[in-house]
Symmetry: C2
Subunit: 205 residues, 2 copies
């Protein structure tokens, strides 16, 4: 059998995270049943996104404009910058609706194992953004707080420590996300690390 068109499509789809060869095959079979409603629109959307979506030169978010919609939004609190590892984290915080400041996407974490140092991340750009003398204060107010929203992993916390040190001399307030029991989490199913962190960080009621 030389069903090259179909096989090539399956191979490409199977390279997406979350799709293996089996689900890629299922997806292709479902799409072929209705090319007009799913397959061709998907092809067009992919081409359009590949051509139009760029990383924001200010914060690293992905958008069809540069600066991105978040950085352009005058309603947002420009005195607060939330530092995240990846664009996916930025989107997750946006979905929560709990934050109205700006962002800074690092592009990953420091990692000795993977050989990622500070120069591979946009940490220098973050320091620039925070310390740059504002030519027109009305246009771009001074940053007052940097919130580190990094993973509670070894690499994430190493990166957080490094940024805290780099920002120490600027005198800017640096905070990080609270750690503890997730909302809806059952104690019985929590790992020991989370449980002991939550115990140590207990708060009076």
């Amino acid at each position: 059998m030389t069903v090259t068109d179909i096989e090539r499509l399956i191979q490409l789809l199977a390279r997406l995270p979350g799709l293996g060869p089996r689900s890629a095959r299922r997806a292709v079979l479902q799409m072929i049943k209705r090319p007009e409603t799913l397959m061709l629109p998907l092809a067009a959307a992919l081409r359009q996104a590949a051509e139009n979506v760029r990383a924001c030169s200010v914060c690293g978010n992905l958008d069809t404009h540069d600066p991105c919609a978040v950085c352009r939004d005058r309603e947002r609190d420009a005195t607060t910058i939330c530092v995240v590892e990846e664009v996916a984290d930025l989107w997750a915080i946006e979905r929560s609706g709990a934050y109205r400041g700006l962002y800074h996407v690092l592009g990953g974490t420091l990692s000795a194992l993977d050989g990622r140092g500070p120069e591979q991340l946009s940490i220098g750009r973050l320091i620039d953004r925070v310390t740059r003398p504002s030519s027109s204060p009305a246009e771009r107010p001074r940053v007052a707080e940097v919130i580190l929203a990094l993973s509670a992993t070894v690499d994430g916390q190493t990166t957080a420590h490094y940024i805290v040190e780099r920002l120490a001399e600027t005198g800017i307030k640096v905070s990080r996300l609270a750690q503890g029991v997730p909302v809806g989490g059952e104690l019985d199913y929590l790992d020991d690390g989370t449980l002991s962190t939550a115990l140590r960080a207990r708060r009076p009621v």
Copy 2:
């Protein structure tokens, strides 16, 4: 945020079976990092498949040619037709490498609940294929056996019974897949139905 290009792409991807909104987002973020190696090739492959892939007019398989590569293959045993529900089942049997005959894709099963009768499936076309007097026996040998490779579900078995009845008067040999313990299956984890089927169908060693 009006990231319409990205959001539209995520929505389309999330409609594929096996991908929810979360994994569609992850897939899009990964693709945007390397548009040249994954995103644009995928867009091209989708458009190509949508334009070129058709159902085989003989057996219902999907291919860029009609008749499909299986039906055109002179090396295959044209006296045996394996009846399957969907193209995915045909591909699964092809991957096993255990079959060298032809196929017939029904396009589903009979289903009283979903209102699918024999006219919605390609059963009539199967009967035609099997009973058609062969104009040139060398060109197209008579079908000697029909193998029913249908799901071991109520609908699958109803469909099998119906096809057996329709083929009864033709005198053609009809068989079905063996049922029993799957290879590598542990008895402890088998459902009662499979276990009792395997017991009833026990074979001397």
